[in-house]
Symmetry: C2
Subunit: 321 residues, 2 copies
């Protein structure tokens, strides 16, 4: 099942079911918005399932322009950093001790009051801040009780999403050095239009991991196509980490961190910072520039059998003079 939120003039938008190909939609009468559906999942699920069988024949044509982020604002956004290759490359390039990921998952609390629409221009204050994208997979959760173990965690995964976690790299090390974590460095993320139930991925949802390539183009050039299967910590472990000292409310979005693979020389990277780290290691300096005014990034994930899963993120950036 695939769900999409369409603009209707409210802050939360209107929930629709979408067909497999992402070309037809049907409004969900009882659930005005995605957050309502997530808070009442058991009650709404039969209706969503029924609409999913009808949308192919009865749906209205959908071309994508009205799509918002599945949750245009969310109750919580927690982002992990679960791909060890990404971490090792950054450590090596920056001359840090090469330890790999710690034994505890890395995770930060990000802003969740808005997620940009998949084709919305992203506006940043300055090119000097090192504007970068980060391709990630994420899960949207039901209500998770405090103390939930990794073994019990995957039952709370309601939907899977594709995320662009915008980052201002020049501010990152300054904010990390304080120990307080990222704030200015992490403005609003964007999310691809379709949030899908785990069964939609078939065998590509495995061990709490999204085993699909996340394909990224920067200004029409292929930038990377790394797979989500190399997460050191699966979403089960990330959920347990997040729920240690708090209940996680329905509608929490949990991210994987930048997708990265050990064969990065073949598949490329999911953010500019990682490519620059590889360049630094190989040549002694980062070469690829961060993004400039008007640059465009496109992200998508295709299943070998089912085709496009999440729809596209396709965003320009703008930096006012």
């Amino acid at each position: 099942m695939k769900l999409v939120t369409l603009a209707n003039g409210t802050r939360d938008g209107r929930l629709h079911v979408v067909n497999q190909a992402g070309t037809k939609v049907l409004a969900v009468p009882s659930a005005v918005c995605m957050q309502h559906a997530l808070e009442n999942w058991e009650a709404v699920l039969p209706e969503l399932t029924e609409l999913s069988t009808k949308v192919e024949n009865e749906g209205q044509a959908f071309e994508g322009a009205d799509a918002l982020s599945p949750l245009p604002r969310a109750v919580q956004w927690l982002d992990g950093s679960a791909f060890e290759t990404h971490f090792l490359l950054i450590q090596q390039a920056w001359g840090l001790p090469i330890t790999g990921l710690p034994k505890r998952p890395l995770m930060y609390q990000g802003m969740s009051d808005r997620f940009l629409a998949p084709t919305q221009t992203a506006v940043f204050p300055s090119e000097d801040d090192g504007v970068d994208f980060e391709g990630e997979f994420g899960v949207i959760l039901g209500d998770v009780p405090m103390g939930t173990s990794a073994k019990d965690a995957l039952q709370y995964v309601r939907l899977i999403v594709l995320i662009n976690d915008w980052s201002l790299r020049a501010l990152g090390p300054i904010e990390m050095a304080t120990g307080f974590g990222w704030l200015q460095c992490k403005p609003a993320c964007s999310v691809a239009p379709f949030a899908v139930t785990p069964d939609t991925l078939g065998d590509a949802w495995k061990d709490g991991r999204v085993c699909l390539p996340l394909t990224i183009h920067l200004d029409d050039k292929l930038f990377g196509s790394a797979s989500g299967d190399e997460m050191k910590f699966g979403f089960d472990e990330l959920i347990a980490h997040a729920a240690y000292s708090r209940d996680l409310p329905a509608g929490t979005i949990l991210g994987s961190g930048t997708v990265a693979n050990s064969n990065y020389a073949e598949v490329g990277s999911s953010c500019i910072a990682e490519r620059r780290a590889i360049e630094q290691i190989d040549t002694g300096q980062g070469i690829t520039p961060f993004m400039g005014n008007g640059d465009r990034v496109v992200m998508e994930a295709r299943h070998p059998e089912f085709g496009d899963i999440f729809g596209k993120i396709e965003q320009h950036i703008a930096i006012p003079e």
Copy 2:
């Protein structure tokens, strides 16, 4: 003007106006919840003002039991660390280089999906985590555009609140060392019942600072009564810092960090960690234990002329066996 949110079975509660003494309330007909009022402030303000003049004579008796946090869930919670005395004491006690606060404000993104009610028992996973309170002042904002300067920031302060920022101290250094900031260490905060407009404080709202003593009792013993006036960065500067690379949505809560004064030997502290730091400096070891199952903390702030401003936070903690 004082506002209070009362329980009505929904996640957001119902907005009421409260009289100066905090003993009478009137429901706000047009604004179902606080968040709605904040998103429509200009439209709702005349009604709120009118109700404020009526509540003394027409209000219903209010005893406090139904009070929730003014925003039982908020779109955003950003917490600063603006009191240099607190920072210096921690640096000294921990044997760190004594630098004082950095030139940029310190601030982290905290969870905002729930704020505990002022008398709600706070449940934590383990005494071993070092359960601590932190007394803070905070502001609730209207919509603040990205790039707002400190000079222009105070016009967006809608309401002022008193906050208990619950902290699990044993997890703090572990999470700070990652550079990702606090997550498990910072479960849900609590907020005192009354959110007040700046004019309610009279001269005690000055230079973007709440110049009132924040009085804390731990298990019936006076723990501290430090004033909010020694913020190194005022809320004007904290707002500008937060809005550097993002719009701040109406309903954002921004905290001062633990209130602390240079004459801490007389006025005491606003968290156990700071008292332990002072003990460490004076005697070579922290003495005061962190909180245990059943312990109780009370926070309030009295104006010398207007009396109690925010109502009381009065919470026990519970740690399941």
